[in-house]
Symmetry: C2
Subunit: 383 residues, 2 copies
């Protein structure tokens, strides 16, 4: 491996995608751990839980009854962080005043959805095979398409709406939203309050911080390198180098990015330039499902536990300039907190919050360990 | 309160100090919580623990024996994230290559210290009075002074070195470092592995991300507003408005910033323009100690628990341009995770990691609750 001295010395790596730095201290894994232990998720859940508000046929918090869905099921979050209608906000501060300068706010409207990934209460993405992950990708694509701005070049693709499952609650929204964030919190360590496999989708009139920072970097790279796409070139480079690659098929690369912050952080990136979910054909959606299955299965195999993480899709904004949409490149981030075992996590606290993210093992070491975790799910035999 | 509609609608607030946004969803506290519960720290610790590596007279991980210190005690971290000497890093990638563009790294050297706040194993900042917090501030000041660049305008103040306690291991470093991050992780929820009251200091050749972002904003404000200091003006404004103020004395303001991310986030900010610890006189150091005591005591009173947090000081870099040093403004951030009770925290996961930080209660509501928590420490009677 080139630059192998980086396995031993403290250094910073630059995150080209965000435009930020991470401190890497490889020797630091040697310190003993006497702190908090996580409680791993119970793996002995029933396939159906009468008290779960996501299981088919059950009643939800606000009284609605779930359909007897067979694949996925989408509904509007009963406790949405943003709503599609609210009172108007007109700041009281006079322009040019100190308050108008220092106390800036803007109203945000939007819509929050929940998507169940399977009718079975006790399955996770790691348990599902490609045939069962494709409907989830289809549901995401349906949601994305339904919210696309009619003036977006992506809307002009005019693909048939792909239906993933029970998608009745997806409707054209009142307002044109700017961005759709699709994500999943898995495990109680990641603030997930219900083990039933599900993800969320928050759609807002604002372009949130993270995709906004990435878009700036993608546009800058394009402009500085004759129209080249940062992530397409990065995928090419990593696919040649191999040392950070976890899994690869024709269309996607799963890798521990050079600039990863979380110990076993993974990015699934499209090898060709794809702007958003709507750019994929059937084969690509299957290969994306395969990449998701490979990553989540290896995660669970690593410490033989239900591996907690937050994951999310980054892609073209629903509404944006042609330049923004062309510069976008589809990818998925996985941010898992575990560091040493099923019970010992990495805390991004103190120095990380006040100064700069810091990691212990190198991304190359993490990728090597995840490569070694291929094969069937460790708990398969128990089912 | 002006703009009281912000108590009801979803909105984003702009963080002038970092140049970033936070999503505020005030109605969201209504959702029920069925997720992970924190285990509060035991409050029945002994004053001396023979197995604690921070108690006076005890043996540390690498065999050193702690002195029988009476106030504070400083030593070099036995598992430092950065070291003052290491092998040199010369990147192998050729300039202009894809790898040199996308796989950027730089070596970081530095020094990591641990500071105990008290010889008593079972006390926290919330238990200490002003007379016992002043020595901690003195030790911070001593450390900062010892690492200041001789060419810094701050070094020219040439103040007498203030000794806080057992500071023997503070010595002029081999290299000139760029920044000193002083911080504390408190409680197991914040990755702290030893309840003995202590903080850390990481000093590096690099200017870390967070202070670097702040410095950019401070310089920009100065340049755009005729030399005015962002935080000095902000402190003035908040001290008039009052609705976000938690505590105030002659020199300092403790407030829940307009742009706070964590539910009960607090910033202690100097009311006059002070660049760093060395700018304070005796009275100011006492008033800083009072502000720290007021904040940490109110935190513990809020949910009648040992309130976990990460806190850290931001001030002028050890070495920098005159402009950087003049633009710097001393302040302390407190980032505490608890949201509803001693056991229910806010998770900054999923949407927060992938899209944008999101908070539930408003900073004005948080400040009002912390104002109501004045008075003696709830557990005083138990001691
Ligand atoms: O140095 P400690 O207390 O062992 O470790 C703690 O603080 C460090 C600095 O914030 C973090 O990097 C670690 O993840 C955390 O567990
Ligand atoms: O919406 P949930 O699953 O109740 O809540 C979880 O995910 C949200 C979005 O990432 C976070 O804001 C919450 O802090 C977290 O507990």
């Amino acid at each position: 491996m080139p630059d192998s001295i980086l396995d031993d010395i403290s250094h910073r790596r630059y995150n080209q995608l965000r435009g930020s730095w991470v401190l890497v201290s490889p020797h630091r894994t040697k310190r003993p751990w006497q702190g908090q232990q996580e409680s791993p998720t119970k793996t002995t859940l029933p396939a159906y839980d009468p008290s779960c508000y996501l299981c088919p046929g059950n009643k939800r918090a606000q009284g609605d009854i779930n359909p007897k869905y067979e694949k996925t099921f989408v509904f509007v979050n009963d406790y949405s962080a943003v709503k599609d209608e609210q009172e108007e906000y007109k700041p009281e501060n006079k322009d040019g005043s100190l308050a108008s300068r220092l106390l800036r706010a803007e109203s945000v409207t939007g819509k929050c959805y929940v998507i169940t990934f399977s009718p079975s209460h006790n399955l996770t993405l790691a348990d599902l095979d490609v045939a069962h992950i494709v409907p989830i990708i289809n549901t995401w694509t349906h949601l994305y398409t339904a919210h696309l701005s009619p003036s977006s070049p992506l809307a002009k693709l005019n693909k048939a709406v792909i239906n993933g499952g029970h998608d009745e609650s997806i409707s054209k929204p009142n307002a044109q939203y700017r961005y759709m964030q699709i994500f999943e919190n898995k495990g109680s360590a990641m603030g997930c309050s219900n083990p039933h496999p599900h993800g969320q989708v928050w759609t807002t009139t604002s372009l949130p911080e993270e995709p906004s920072m990435e878009l700036e970097q993608l546009k800058k790279y394009r402009c500085e390198h004759g129209g080249a796409n940062l992530l397409e070139e990065y995928a090419q480079l990593e696919s040649t180098k191999k040392e950070r690659v976890v899994f690869e098929n024709d269309s996607f690369l799963a890798l521990c990015p050079w600039w990863a912050v979380w110990p076993f952080e993974v990015m699934i990136v499209s090898k060709k330039h794809k702007r958003a979910l709507v750019d994929f054909d059937d084969k690509e959606r299957e290969e994306l499902a395969e990449a998701i299955a490979e990553v989540t299965r290896r995660y669970d195999n690593l410490f033989e536990t239900q591996f907690p993480y937050s994951m999310g899709l980054h892609q073209a904004p629903l509404e944006g300039t042609d330049e923004e949409i062309e510069a976008s490149h589809f990818h998925i981030h996985f941010y898992p907190p575990l560091l040493r075992s099923a019970t010992v996590r990495k805390f991004l606290v103190g120095y990380e919050m006040l100064a700069e993210p810091q990691r212990d093992i190198t991304p190359e070491q993490a990728a090597a360990r995840l490569r070694d975790c291929a094969g069937p799910l460790y708990r398969k035999a128990l089912n």
